[in-house]
Symmetry: C2
Subunit: 291 residues, 2 copies
């Protein structure tokens, strides 16, 4: 089920890339490289699942799902740049700027951010949803990716480097840095399906909880995994002198909290009348990574 | 007239920035720094003029105008980064990354690109225009800023460095790199006003011509001006081993062509029934910079 979705998402993602002509071929290749570099497709999968759960169609939600994955991918490309985290590896492969050079990677990231809006506002997207829904979706994308969302989280992250920060501070940072796009996934699915207020509220609650759990699990993985499993150098957070949940709370307490958050997330799903098996399994799948 | 517009644009631009709280204050300050670093406001001015020329209102066109200026400003911030042109000065002031550091400048650029979409899709923008017009405007923004527009021009520019290229190649590059946003300005004004097909065609034709003229004049200025006048080191294009119109055609031929393009642009305005004085003067004002 989930792997079938993944293939559909990847096929659709490719369809939105511009043609690779002689002039802009390298830029498009560089965008494609990161877009197709694997990953769990957590965000687009959530968009599709929430759309179905609220009575919408996977087909209509797909452009929203792809747009969100483009924004996520852009953030990874820019995050890996030398002036940011300066990472050479991402998901076990050389990072974009290692393959295409820094300037092309910079443009590729911006290209994917821009393409996200083209995608959500495309004729296909408007036809399958509606002008109103596409406008609402584009607004969600912009707000969650912008200075009050993901980019805000990134600046907080940058300015926290080398400082001892509190767990509360980490939570605020992560609610923006990674949480904003996960919550956007829930909202986008709901928008495509024309969900009720109660459904939207429950979807956001689920997304908030698994978003934080996801981040805490990531911290734990950074301490406990091998480079091979993780696809990036182990302890890289530590080398960059970042405060983490694992460092502040210890691995065991992190596991306890992330399990609690996951349960809470799953409980929020009781509002929905349709089958929530996939989203429940999904929450536990994200959690399980840390064990 | 033009300076009054400029003040209105700058006041409105500021109104779209997020509040500067403790957490994201530096990011917002960095966005504001470049947004308020002067400049001629060519693009937003064109949006407003074309809106009025097609029977629309300046007030309704203003969010579109601001969004376009945000995209232009983002492109300047990223363009100045060390991995791109590595410029220390822009409009006579230290570039964004010189003041706020590279990582913050990177985020500020992306923040402005994202804010452009928030702005064009804002409640105010929808109320003054309509859902349909705002969606159309956001599409124009995304297409003109993306891989087939401005970013495409930038990758062509990067890959042309140190190579001897033809005037034709330069024209294709500039039509994307700078032309795309100037043409977007014309389109956005027309969209806000609900212009006719003929009006849109004429507006695009005017924008194409002054866009190219603008670029040729810039090349000439790079050869003939002092650093003080230009606000950036003279001959910086030459140092970066870029082929320019001035280098390929000579200053005199460049002046002849840009004058011809300006006349052609002004002629296209004959379609409009309303007073085109401002746009005529504007075209000659842009040209005059080279004399």
């Amino acid at each position: 089920m989930m792997s079938e979705n993944k293939l559909n998402i990847e096929r659709e993602l490719l369809s939105y890339l511009p043609e690779k002509n002689e002039l802009i071929g390298n830029l498009v290749s560089s965008m494609e490289y990161s877009l197709m570099a694997g990953g769990k497709r957590v965000r687009p999968m959530l968009v599709l699942e929430f759309a179905k759960l609220c009575g919408g169609s996977e087909e209509a939600a797909m452009p929203f799902a792809c747009a969100l994955e483009m924004i996520h991918t852009y953030s990874l490309i820019h995050d890996d740049l030398p002036c940011m985290d300066n990472d050479d590896l991402r998901r076990g492969k050389p990072t974009n700027h290692k393959v295409y050079g820094e300037s092309c990677a910079l443009l590729a990231g911006s290209g994917l951010l821009t393409l996200a809006f083209e995608t959500v506002l495309s004729d296909k997207s408007v036809r399958l949803n509606s002008t109103e829904k596409c406008l609402a979706a584009a607004k969600v994308l912009a707000e969650s990716a912008g200075a009050q969302g993901m980019l805000g989280g990134q600046i907080i992250d940058l300015e926290s480097e080398g400082k001892q920060v509190t767990v509360e501070h980490l939570k605020i940072m992560d609610a923006k840095k990674t949480g904003a796009l996960i919550i956007a996934a829930a909202k986008l699915g709901c928008i495509s399906a024309g969900a009720s207020e109660d459904e939207i509220k429950a979807a956001i609650s689920y997304a908030e909880d698994i978003g934080l759990a996801f981040q805490i699990v990531d911290d734990v993985l950074d301490v406990t995994s091998s480079t091979e499993e993780l696809g990036k150098p182990v302890g890289s957070d530590n080398e960059n002198e970042k405060s983490t949940y694992a460092a502040l709370l210890g691995v065991d307490e992190c596991k306890r909290i992330s399990a609690e958050l996951t349960d809470h997330a799953v409980n929020a799903l009781s509002v929905f009348e349709r089958d929530t098996t996939t989203l429940r399994e999904f929450a536990y799948y994200l959690l399980k990574r840390s064990n």
